[in-house]
Amino acid sequence: MIYEGKQKIWKDYQKEIPDDHWYYVRSCIRQNFFPASERKFTDITKDILGKDVYETPYHTTCGGIAYHCDAIPQETAMTIVARQFALMTETGYENYVPSCVTSFGNYIEILETWREFPELEARIREQLWKACRREFNKPKYIAHTSDLIYHWRNVIAEKAAHRLIDKETGEPLRMAEHIGCHYAKMFPSKSIGGAEYPYVLAGMIESWGGQVVDYPERRHCCGYGFRQYHMKANRGYCVSNTHKKFESMEPYGIQAILTNCPGCCYFMDRWQYVIAEQTGKTYGKDGFGIPVFTYEELAGLVLGYDPWDLGLQLHQVAVEPFLDRIGVEYDPKAKYLGLNKEDLLKPELPTNLKCF
């Protein structure tokens, strides 16, 4: 691998990211999967970085997930998006940051479509007006939350309590990054680093001391696949894709995976359990899986947040070996205690995948 070659490509895929004043919208599903991640994004940006990140409880889904599941037509998604933009406009913000990659892709796709077909935008404006008497301005900047973390990665690195380095050996951790398909594959120019060699997550890993490991099936889908997963009969196909990725990853000794998409993180984590149940195979060391983190979680760990505060107990794959490796201290007994220290009960353990 010629690193300079990648750097050359990264230079072509940079975008302007304003340093402050963001209008934040959440993902539909992340709060169920890894609820602490979005909360920590606001904590980190507001408390640690001191940025103005605003959110309103009135915002809804962007319609992207339904659109990609073939449940609604694009025009419906556009009208939903128009309302989202209207909320932003009403609060006076111009920079829009969604926490979901599919949302990000959805917004970009809609804005690009409107750019190509202005008459469509006019019709949507009309529909929005008819529906809820709202008007909107298109955001001046759109970035994904991972773009922002990437943007502030070096500031975070400066404030880091831990680095992605093996405490014992001093070696950088071997990490893979996985980009959500809707982040760059549709509009590479709207991403950091492009679609082939995206840099948004790689940049964080590098900045926080880890080593990015490439593997042949890096570009492959995580194994969610929207419309496929939502038909139970097709889930075998979905999990097979994840299986393919992990098979490809196996020889590289990858210690953790960093993702920027709600679905990817969830499925690459949970499917490891399904694969272990079906094939008996696990991909981490000593019968463990490979932990899969969101960028907020990783940033949180680097910044010294308590892992259980980051919601890491909600991961299927045990994160403890990883925490031990980078020297994060944690109370094993507190893993399944709720915010009010009430015992949430320990989940049933899988047959093959080692967990605590």
Binding site: M1, I2, G5, G194, Y197, D214, Y215, P216, E217, R219
Partner: protein
């Protein structure tokens, strides 16, 4: 500056088109002035190793052509700074300060080899063992290339890299790549007889004399296998091997193969230098980005400006013999134009 009584003809581009035209113009009694950007004549062909279908040496060809035009004025490492219309003819100002008045200009600025890094998915410049057809020719010519393993066991050739690719901005077929791939596959097999060689193609466009014989020979005598399906994704596997993915469109199945070397058949794209010239001389550009001929059937050599002529790949993708034939035709066109003016 020129004491000769012979009439000047400025030839922009010292590749094979420019050289061949210069030779013909010398024979017709003119004073051709060849202006070449690079430090040597010969253009792309000068860097090639062997030329199909005779497998003759490209270097020999260029050397012989150079000898033929030893009497011509040749400016190397020189650019055209401006072209101004005079009452009769043009004034061409060169970057070396030379100022030439002439009644005819031949543009033979050729093509630019498609920059394979633009097809990011192929990882040219990123992966250790991905090279282009031009790199391979350079290696055949004896230039060391660390990307080429000592004894590759499997080699892949990707046809149509940057050709027939709207998204890469090159909708045209580059004509020569299919045949180059077949030729290079054979040459690779000659050097590494035990290597397995695959060519990944969309269509095999083997239109020229003896091209089909090469194709049969590659299959029959060299066991080169042709897979119809364009490689869509290249990754690096452990040990630096190249993993490629394509659809095997003939079996309708996805296909994956690990290779020790991947050769990209970079196509021809229009030369940005040519675009600059076109602006200078107010020449029309065709929809494919190449210079626009007066028509594409009978007057390929003629431009929309009187006294400015074209030869070779500046008007579109051409093979070597086509380029040479066009250069000779252009010389004759110029001769006829200048005679008429007398």
């Amino acid at each position: 500056m020129f004491l000769t009584m012979k009439e000047n003809v400025v030839i922009i581009g010292g590749g094979i088109a420019g050289m061949e035209a210069a030779r013909q113009l010398l024979l017709l009694g003119y004073n051709p002035i060849v202006v070449e950007q690079k430090e040597q004549l010969g253009g792309h062909v000068g860097k090639w190793h062997r030329l199909f279908p005779d497998m003759s040496s490209a270097q020999d060809l260029v050397r012989r052509m150079e000898e033929d035009i030893s009497e011509a004025n040749i400016f190397l490492e020189t650019k055209v700074n401006s072209i101004n219309r005079l009452r009769e003819g043009y004034q061409v100002m060169l970057s070396n300060g030379v100022n030439i008045a002439c009644r005819a200009i031949l543009i033979a600025s050729g093509f630019k080899l498609f920059d394979a890094t633009r097809k990011e998915e192929y990882g040219y410049g990123v992966y250790d063992h991905v090279i282009t057809n031009a790199d391979l020719e350079a290696w055949f010519n004896g230039n060391a290339d660390p990307r080429i393993p000592h004894a590759p066991e499997s080699v892949g050739f990707v046809h149509c890299v940057g050709s027939r690719d709207l998204k890469a901005g090159n909708s045209q077929c580059s004509k020569v790549c299919c045949m180059t791939a077949v030729k290079q596959a054979i040459e690779i097999k000659e050097r590494f007889p035990s290597a397995r060689v695959w060519c990944f193609y969309m269509d095999l466009r083997l239109f020229g004399k003896k091209y089909e014989d090469f194709y049969i020979g590659a299959q029959q005598d060299y066991a080169v296998q042709f897979v119809r399906g364009r490689i869509s994704e290249v990754s690096e596997a452990l040990g630096g091997q190249i993993q490629v993915k394509a659809e095997d469109t003939l079996t309708g199945k996805p296909l994956r193969v690990r290779l020790d070397l991947l050769v990209l058949m970079s196509g021809m794209s229009c030369n940005p230098e040519m675009t600059r010239l076109a602006r200078m001389a107010r020449l029309d550009i065709d929809s494919d980005g190449f210079l626009k001929s007066l028509d594409n059937i009978r007057s390929i050599n003629e431009s929309n400006r009187p006294g400015i002529f074209f030869a070779g790949a500046c008007t579109g993708t051409k093979t070597v013999p086509e380029t040479l034939a066009e250069a000779r035709a252009a010389a004759l066109d110029i001769h006829r134009y200048l005679q008429k003016g007398l």
